[in-house]
């Protein structure tokens, strides 16, 4: 009775292969363990899941709905399909939406060559954007001493918001507005440079998938983001 409860092990099928998974494991974690690639943007190991980019949707047998792999936990006997014609079409369109939403001109971006969005576009074989560009006029906040925030490149994945609150504990970053006018803000929508809560730790810059957050004075070749510290800091928190 009083023994520590052990996680149960489920057996299920992912892309036709029989696999075993721990209870509470997500489909995404399971896929990664089994070297199955599922595209993601808002997911980052070490941060709580967000479920906003919709790129990781997968099919589960017996349901017409699609499920975000990052937030769906495994169940016994589940049959997951991570790649199909339908999913490929959807992912391609979602990626196109991200490119059409703001301004992603790679050739003049500081993240050119090491951008998660660009990487996925190449990986999914994207050759053009079918939807018209919306090109809203967005500002660039260069008020911080070391960093720069270019809203034109932001895909609202909120990795920066999560790392700032969950790991650094500063809660400087937040979101304002709704729908397409949502925007990352600092404190109560002040200039980043004026923020009293920002510790200038730079974590947000390093987790940003695109060129929306960058270090000042760095060229595209130098602006490589490092994230190896993140799972480590998270595991330290959990201990």
């Amino acid at each position: 009775m009083n023994q520590p409860t052990q996680a149960r092990i489920f057996t299920l099928k992912i892309d036709g292969v029989d696999v075993a998974a721990r209870e509470h494991e997500t489909i995404l974690e399971l896929a990664q363990e089994n070297n199955i690639f599922i595209p993601t943007l808002c997911h980052l190991e070490g941060l709580t899941e967000f479920g906003g980019c919709r790129l990781c949707v997968v099919e589960v047998q017996g349901s017409n709905r699609l499920f975000p792999a990052c937030m769906t936990t495994v169940t016994e006997g589940m049959e997951v399909t991570t790649d199909s014609e339908r999913l490929r079409v959807y992912r391609y369109m979602i990626l196109g939406m991200l490119f059409s939403e703001r301004n992603h001109v790679c050739s003049v971006c500081v993240s050119n060559g090491h951008c998660d969005l660009q990487f996925l576009a190449a990986k999914l074989g994207m050759t053009r954007v079918e939807m018209p560009y919306l090109h809203p006029s967005m500002v660039v906040d260069a008020s911080h001493q070391h960093f720069i925030m270019d809203h034109n490149r932001c895909i609202l994945c909120q990795r920066c918001v999560r790392v700032c609150g969950e790991i650094e504990g500063a809660f400087t970053k937040g979101v304002m507005g709704r729908g397409a006018s949502s925007r990352i803000i600092h404190d109560l929508n002040g200039a980043w440079g004026d923020s009293k809560t920002c510790t200038s730790c730079g974590k947000c810059v390093n987790v940003c998938p695109t060129g929306a957050l960058a270090e000042k004075g760095k060229s595209a070749g130098e602006m490589v983001k490092r994230r190896d510290w993140l799972p480590y800091l998270r595991s330290m928190q959990e201990d």
Binding site: Y90, S100, E101, E130, L156, R178, S182
Partner: protein
């Protein structure tokens, strides 16, 4: 003892009523208030003068909001009590109304109540609306209120309460139609303590005002329903999440909660039993998405109101991570009647799968704009033509279910109104808004309107809804302006499919519904607007006269 207290209050109310031969009821719900019914109320009170046999009071919504301010005069001088209704009453009419007491009614203002609008309704949720003063708990009790709660607490076990709800066949009135009994069972089975009950009063659909009327006209009913639910599922805290745009509803709820706490039918040791139930009010700030249950919970917790993927459902992981029961205002308002009269009684009303009644808000190009309550299964035609008073042939379509619903053309008006039938037609029951459209409405424009609503109400969390609604709106606008081609229509359909299938929450998943349903029934209206829309695929003549759209 509570039961004696109730009896004393009821006796007092009856006596006070018997002292008067006439009772004048003035509607003081939002609709009539906006046409100065409060001035009518004051004028009538002042106008009484030495008239001792008459009592004037403010009551809730009487339904026919378009003819407001409404005044009802109940007379019981003769053997048979009579009620006369007056419409479009102004403060100046007060003396005339008072003078007519006990005589012939003022013909100029009289409203004929012998019409389908009044005769065809079945009132359960609205039974006290327009009859009692919403700011006095005594009147609610005299009308049989809180008796259900009292008998529940003293005579039934929680599982018996749930059985009663299951037997009634009640389904959620917030839009989804999820079986209420099943939801209660799930929450009851979760391990406590620290469960919550939430009442969703964030009514955000354009054109809907059912929940608002219930809260403004009979707030105690919702509180009683919540308390019964709290007892059934084992929760001792309740939250009502009301839109900030409903100040009158909030005010009346505050008064109601204060009165109920003072009387001991809410708060600690409810009705002298060991059951505690405290109700708190939380105000929404006008975001439509905060009506979605997980976003609503985030908002109560003080976070940004954005949804999260379900499962886990709130029944398992809700407010502050605790098992939470969340139901709509109208769902809770049905509960006291079910408990009082029994689930079996409730199940006799309605259709096989949709039990009971439904409140609808009629709006649009319709004669009788207002609030009605009809049994499930009544046909659209009865609602629109008979109750609504729209002549046959003068109505093109009806939009049900708000931005998540669809347009049903007049040809399908013999469909019974129940969850399944509306769904089969590509619309939904939704929360109960019905917008009636005449021949002059363009269906493309209707679709564009609802898409604009979804676009500005999208929370922005997930990409497909945030960006997809903008692209869909732009395409609809382009079609409406007559600047679009067939391929634009194709793209629109592809986007509808994508947004429906990949969005995170119900807002995005249902945002394409108005487009899909208008495309299903009124495709020709879209085609007629396309530059190359003619049936044989030839370009319409307009194309030769209009310049190609400049590329951005």
């Amino acid at each position: 003892m509570m039961i004696e207290k109730f009896a004393a209050i009821t006796a007092e109310e009856r006596q006070a009523e018997n002292e008067h031969d006439h009772t004048i009821k003035v509607c003081v719900a939002a609709g009539c208030l906006s046409s100065q019914s409060n001035e009518v109320l004051t004028a009538l009170k002042n106008g009484l003068g030495e008239h001792r046999g008459c009592h004037v009071k403010g009551v809730g919504c009487m339904g026919l909001c378009s003819q407001g301010p409404l005044v009802a005069v109940a007379t019981k001088t003769n053997a048979t009590p009579q009620t006369v209704m007056y419409q479009n009453v102004k403060a100046e009419d007060a003396t005339e109304i008072v003078q007519a007491l006990g005589k012939e009614p003022v013909a100029r203002l009289a409203l004929n109540t012998d019409v389908p609008f009044f005769q065809r309704q079945t009132k359960i949720v609205l039974e006290n609306c327009g009859a009692i003063d919403p700011e006095r708990i005594e009147e609610y009790i005299a009308a049989g209120g809180y008796q259900g709660l009292l008998t529940t607490l003293t005579e039934s076990s929680p599982s018996e309460v749930i059985d009663e709800i299951v037997r009634s066949g009640l389904r959620g009135r917030g839009g989804g139609g999820y079986p209420t009994g099943l939801k209660w069972t799930t929450v009851a089975k979760m391990d406590g303590p620290g469960k919550y009950v939430i009442c969703n009063a964030d009514e955000g659909d354009p054109g809907a005002f059912m929940d608002r009327s219930v809260l403004e006209s009979d707030p105690h009913r919702v509180l009683e329903g919540m308390a019964i639910a709290g007892y059934a599922v084992g929760a001792s805290e309740g939250y009502i999440y009301v839109r900030g745009e409903y100040p009158l509803a909030v005010e009346r709820l505050k008064i109601a909660i204060r009165q109920a706490n003072r009387l001991g039918v809410l708060g600690s040791k409810v009705c002298g039993t060991t059951f505690d139930f405290n109700v708190h009010i939380r105000l929404g700030a006008g975001a439509f998405v905060c009506g979605e249950e997980t976003a609503l919970i985030a908002s109560i917790e003080g976070k940004r109101g954005t949804p999260r993927p379900r499962p886990p459902y709130p029944a398992e992981h809700g407010l502050w991570g605790k098992p939470t029961l969340i139901n709509n205002v109208e769902t809770f308002a049905n509960v006291p009647a079910i408990i009082r009269k029994g689930g079996a009684w409730y199940a006799t009303i309605g259709t096989a799968k949709s039990k009971g009644t439904k409140v609808f808000a009629l709006a649009g190009s319709i004669q009788n704009t207002g609030l009605i309550e009809v049994p499930m299964g009544m046909s659209l035609s009865e609602i629109i033509h008979e109750i609504g008073g729209v002549p046959i042939g003068k109505c093109k379509a009806v939009q049900t279910g708000g931005p998540s619903g669809g347009c049903i053309p007049a040809a399908y008006f013999d469909t019974p109104v129940d969850y399944e039938s509306l769904k089969a037609l590509g619309s939904i029951m939704g929360s109960g808004g019905m917008i009636i459209m005449d021949e002059s409405s363009s269906m493309v424009d209707v679709a564009r309107y609802f898409m604009e609503f979804c676009m500005s109400e999208s929370c922005g969390k997930c990409v497909t809804c945030r960006v997809g609604t903008v692209h869909m709106y732009n395409l609809l606008d382009k079609i409406y302006q007559g600047k679009a081609w067939r391929r634009d229509l194709n793209t629109l359909e592809k986007l509808c499919d994508l947004v429906m299938n990949t969005s995170l929450c119900g807002l995005g998943q249902t945002a394409p519904n108005p487009v899909l349903s208008t495309l299903r029934y009124f495709r020709h209206e879209y085609l007629n607007k396309l530059l190359d829309g003619a049936e044989d695929g030839r370009m319409a003549t307009a194309a030769t006269t209009q310049p190609l759209e400049a590329r951005p």
